[in-house]
Amino acid sequence: MSDIATQTDAKLMEGPAFVRAGTVAALPPPVRYAGALGWLRANLLSSPLNIALTVICVLLVLWLLPPLVKFLIVDAVWDGAGRADCLARPDHPEMGACWAFVFERINFFIYGFYPIDERWRVNVFFALLAVAVVWMAWLEAPRRDIGVIYFFIVMPIASIVLLLGFPSMGLSRVPTSSWGGVLVTVVVAAVGIVASLPIGIVLALGRRSRMPAVRLLSVLFIEFVRGVPLITVLFMASVMLPLFVPETWSPDKLLRALVGVALFSAAYMAEVVRAGLQAIPKGQFEGAMAVGLSYWQSMRLVILPQALTITIPNIVNTTIGLFKDTTLVFVVGIFDFLMTIESARVDPNWATPVTSTTGYVFAAMFYLVFCYGMSRYARTIERRLAVGERR
């Protein structure tokens, strides 16, 4: 102990090793992280790796974006009467998208082969559906209880009468074989969601039931449907359904596909609803029982309103999947929106090297707008629901 003390003292006796005489030069100011330059530095150029990544990304954008703009806008043909306008000519050597083709065929893409004089009925159907969707999606809308009845009962019946026709009311019959385009896509998606939500809720409740036979049947159905591709379900609906019913019924082709799509999405909806039910604390079930509500009363008044509200984002996501899956009805020979484009693009009147790409880009924009819109809506709801959890 004293050893160390004496050593230190001895060192101190030698005097300080270094004493600064002048003032130290001021350090340079810290790197700016505010303003445009600061933002660039923080977000794009913070390290050698980031600089390299930024350069690669910029090159990628420069490589992809100009040809895309050139194809879609600069070199595009906006009006024309036939394929000759969309073929490369000496004065227009590089041909872009042939929008004239889309404009000329737009009615076919929307209505398919629906008779021209009757197309107002399709427009009314779109309006009815739009009202239903807004009523359901806008959570502050007035009288949403009536909206539910409208969505699940009034609108479907009115639509069937309107679209199929009702001769005694002066609406001539339009067979489903002449439906097509956006109409069929929307009908398949709408029927899918309108039918699958109730069936899905029943299946979800069945899967959580205390009765073993009910639970077993629900689990079997849900897991079976979720384990096979939609295409095989549609094949089954299309070739096996007619075998399973008496010969005199011979269900309509579109109806068969609708049954397939509804059953398929019901299984997925059931799992979504089940997740919502699982998130409801047990106290809610017990509380409902304690005030003397029956099973169905407690479900209708206490559990489902809460469970369905927190599942809205997932229901919308399932709807997005369903909307994209409507394209698969082509396997049973139904002309949905994508199939009208598939058939129009090889039409000899319009077949050019750019027609296919134009058609696909148009279809992609259609699906992108609807699906992206729905996913934004789901995210908004999600954020709203999370308000209570925010800290």
Binding site: N50, I231, M240, L243, K324, T327, A364, Y367
Partner: protein
């Protein structure tokens, strides 16, 4: 006041929940059985009227059609059963390759979306939002009809460095042909893999008992890559290549990759990668920041933090939804029917169904195959999940 014991009347049996439950279930089962019975009854009657045979006798009949891609020997005199196996193998081939590539691309994009680099994160986000919201079928048709079918004809094939060709008939690559002596590098490779696994086990055991690290990565690399390559060089490269020869109308020799296969693989990989990216992002975000901070404060370097702290915890969240994405990819491969890739649905539920007319049997077999694949994949992934899941109390 003396309590008077009034015998309470027994409630009617109809209000007994147990009795009610049993009654409901009996009614439900009766209903289901009746529906099943009437469906079978109608089917038997309808089939008899249409004079369609039933049973699985068609399995060993001659198929009589050609298939453009098969991994096993197949010709038009083979049986329907053989055609089934060709279709199944083609489905499994595209699904397996798709899963591998989609996982790689998905992880890259998912991690990019969390990058601190604004441009990288934005581009990854744009990719995910665009691809996810366009139907897979549309993407497949685009790749097939607008991209691959629009490639130059055979005469003007694009040459690929290394002796390959790309044209609207597909991709043609040099085919390696084993010469005598080629078994030695393969044996060396098998040996290398076994040795590498053994080394890993040993290194882990030693690390747990003594805390010393062994250079696992470099040893594995050496054993699996260097040793087989050295044997390959020593045995004098016993591999020849059959190069595709460009003709006027067709290309001979080499490996032919069908445009249908390429379009399906592109479509599946690009589409599924967008979903996997979201799964990965959610998984990484689920690891709380405190974990990273704690690792830094213990003195772990960023790479070690990622490898030892973040990834193992993120994997727990990632594995279950990743499994369902793999299953989705496998099921989505059935869209091959739209572009004519000879997968199970196209061959079996398409051509065989049309030729035999035995809808019930064919659809049942097809569905059973997909169900089996789903159940086996889920079982394997659950096993893996069980190993890495958090063990609480």
């Amino acid at each position: 006041m003396a309590a008077v014991d009034v015998p309470r009347p027994k409630p009617p049996l109809i209000y007994n929940p147990r009795v009610r439950g049993i009654a409901y279930q009996v009614v439900l089962c009766a209903l289901v059985l009746f529906l099943a019975w009437s469906a079978i009854h109608n089917a038997v009657e309808n089939l008899a009227r249409a004079k369609i045979a039933s049973g699985f006798g068609f399995w060993s009949n001659t198929a009589g059609f050609d298939i453009s891609q098969s991994l096993i020997n197949y010709s038009n005199i083979s049986t329907y059963g053989r055609a089934f196996w060709v279709g199944l193998l083609n489905t499994l081939l595209v699904a397996a390759l798709g899963i591998v590539f989609a996982t790689i691309l998905g992880f890259i994009i998912g991690i990019s979306r969390l990058s601190t680099n604004w441009l990288v994160a934005r581009m990854a986000g744009f990719y995910v939002e665009t691809i996810r919201n366009i139907p897979l079928l549309l993407q497949l048709l685009f790749w097939y009809n607008a991209v691959l079918k629009a490639l130059p004809a055979v005469r003007d094939s694009l040459a690929i460095p290394g002796g390959g060709f790309l044209n609207n008939r597909g991709l043609f690559l040099p085919q390696p042909i084993a010469q005598p002596g080629a078994q030695w590098p393969l044996i060396a490779l098998a040996f290398g893999i076994v040795a590498a696994v053994a080394f890993r086990v040993w290194a882990k055991r030693r690390h747990e008992s003594t805390g010393e690290w062994a250079p696992v990565f470099w040893t594995t690399l050496g054993l699996v890559v260097l040793v087989p390559f050295a044997v390959l060089a020593l045995s004098g490269f016993p591999i020849a290549f059959s190069y595709p020869q460009s003709g006027r109308f067709n290309i001979q020799g080499g490996i032919e990759v069908l445009p249908e296969f390429m379009a399906l693989l592109f479509g599946l990989v690009i589409y599924t990668a967008a979903f996997i990216a979201e799964v990965v992002r959610a998984g990484i975000l689920s690891v709380s920041k405190g974990q990273t901070e704690a690792a830094y404060s213990l003195g772990l370097r960023p790479s070690a933090t990622l490898r030892l702290v973040v990834v193992p915890q993120a994997m727990r969240v990632i594995i279950p939804p990743l499994t369902s994405q793999y299953l989705n990819l496998t099921k989505n491969s059935s869209l091959a029917v739209a572009i004519g890739y000879p997968d199970l649905v196209q061959i079996f539920a398409g051509t065989v169904l049309n030729q035999t007319g035995q809808a019930v049997e064919v659809i049942a077999i097809t569905m059973a195959v997909y169900l089996t694949i789903s159940l086996v994949t889920s079982a394997l992934m659950n096993l893996y999940n069980l190993r890495i899941a958090l063990v609480e109390r």
